[in-house]
Symmetry: D3
Subunit: 145 residues, 6 copies
């Protein structure tokens, strides 16, 4: 099997399809730090805050600006992909309900020389704040840490 990149690991976990728990354990045993959570809001800063809070609480990043900066930029890139351009939700009358996945570890599995990176994936629904009037969206940001 081809070696997976940190992005693919985060994407597979995000999609939550198949035996996710085994997959998560498999990569935790390879020293990846992994967290999956949920966030939903018309307010983009609440989604960002939910991810940052989870990353701190779960010790995915250490309490220094260097690492917080890497996480923040990964989140913003993921959100930019999710929004497909302008990072706006409620301001343009739309809402997001999503699963976020944070993965920290080597850029490529079993390649320590690829260095330590952090990947953030957002996968869920985006649309009008009215049930059924929404479609799926995805975004991913990857930063060295």
């Amino acid at each position: 099997m081809e070696k997976r990149g940190i992005g693919k690991i985060a994407l597979l976990l995000s999609l939550g399809d198949g035996d996710i728990e085994s997959l998560q354990k498999y990569y935790e045993n390879k020293n990846y730090i992994i967290y999956r959570g949920q966030a939903g809001s018309m307010d983009s800063k609440k989604i960002i805050a939910a991810i940052e809070t989870a990353a701190s609480r779960e010790d995915i990043i250490r309490e220094n600006y260097h690492e917080e900066h890497a996480l923040y930029h990964a989140i913003i890139e993921a959100l930019s992909g999710y929004c497909r351009g302008q990072v706006l939700l409620g301001e343009v009358l739309r809402s997001a309900g999503l699963t976020f996945t944070i993965v920290r570890g080597t850029l490529v599995e079993d390649e320590p020389s690829s260095g330590n990176w952090i990947a953030v994936v957002l996968y869920g629904q985006i649309g009008s704040p009215r049930r059924g009037f929404e479609h799926e969206a995805i975004g991913m940001g990857i930063q060295p840490i």
Copy 2:
């Protein structure tokens, strides 16, 4: 099992992980039209052209502007997510090598009332035009058709 959305179907196929052929057949039997191809360039218009050409050749879209417009906007949204903001590759000295997946069918599987949509997913590498100096990226666009 939860019903999958057209986006998740396209994403799982894009990641090319596990038994993709069975998955593709499974959804083709449910009347989804599916195509996976490869494109790599510093020139974003070549990537767009490769996807448009494949969609026409494989009869995923009919030869009318209505459908071509839906496909085009899905591609641009996917590319915007892949680039995380500005749809620029060579202009900012970066290159993309990716798998594109086009899926046409109902927004949610087994829900004919959800209508016909087209999803385009781009998954691959983005980075400097120098092997190993790149990381993964993903983008998805979904449009009614």
Copy 3:
């Protein structure tokens, strides 16, 4: 006389110059569905909501996501043109007072084969929230429906 496109029809109605009522009737007799309304706010989501509400109430779009999605994207494109880039009003201390025009019908008049489309035009003033310190702006979005 050259056949007009749906965009020109919406633009002429937006400018509200000359005998608008005759023009509107002329195109309603050709099966175009037309609505003109007013909106003014520093809050972009209020402008979007005003247009969406009018479109539903006036039965310009049917109650399904397919059509709501087409309308939404047409509105966002129009707003993006009106704002000339970032879809921000109050966030950058500016306000908009505008007429919105929604037109649904064939892409080109008297050409049924051009398919059904929806055009949204915003025309009005944009500027500082202080009378006289504003200039005109326009934006148009067109989507298949």
Copy 4:
């Protein structure tokens, strides 16, 4: 009749609908300087150059940077509205064929105190470089001069 703004004057002339020549003369007699031309390209800089060249040749702007800067920013705002976001044509495999209209004069007709401004309107078609696979677009930029 309500006094028209410089934007509306430029828009009416752009749409080229009705007795444009009389309208142009009417406003030239009110000291507006007006020019209408055509440009078509997948290359945005060619469209910008066509407008700048026409403005210089027709003496709409004087040969100084102050005025050239006002014109340039008006063009870019118009192009940004026309493209609805990113100012990209060929880079995203699309082409524009348009009429550009440049109007210089007071911000509001018969109101000398409103000062001198320049308006640029682009109106035409945007789409794939294939006849019939395109829809209308509009953009307007207004700057003090």
Copy 5:
């Protein structure tokens, strides 16, 4: 010594390094109008309002739309540079604390023929709303006035 541009004058004053007061006086004697103030917020419109208020109160711009428009666009360009792309602060959970500098005068010192321009420079910190988790940022906008 090379003649300085209005941008460099504003930048040197912004950095607040060395004998700023002498520098300010030196350029005020050359008929530049200069103001330096502070603003800090997660709300971009408050920063814009602080600069506009200061410019009016200090008589850097006259009470007409022509000049207010030039100032506004210079501020937005400066803010866009400061934010490096999307003009968003609190919406993406970040805060700015900055010195703003407004300079009005000729584009190049001692060159009256270069015309009158206004430069706005923002220099300060941007980051998470938590002390020490921020880095420096700069932005400058220049407009004819």
Copy 6:
């Protein structure tokens, strides 16, 4: 004297005003790595390449993707600030002639705990490709390394 941030160090060196050589030596003695170069083009990728090449040749970054990625994102942020929004030069018929400054060292001078960062500052002229029809611009990107 207040401790300077890495951004201010890079900015002061960029402005090239006063005794730059002493300033550069002063910070080199504090273990900052500094390089100043020139680039001019209508082609943004040439400017990026000039900076990347200089950074490699001068050993400001090590030959690994971790560091190259930090540099690249710092450059893009600087260019985005310089362009005030869309990272486009020739595509929108404008040209840049600038000094670039790369500084690597602690985020704040004499504060080793602030970690290692890289700052890129671009300062110069932007405008039409015609001498004298240009104004100053600045942009800065800062990334952990």
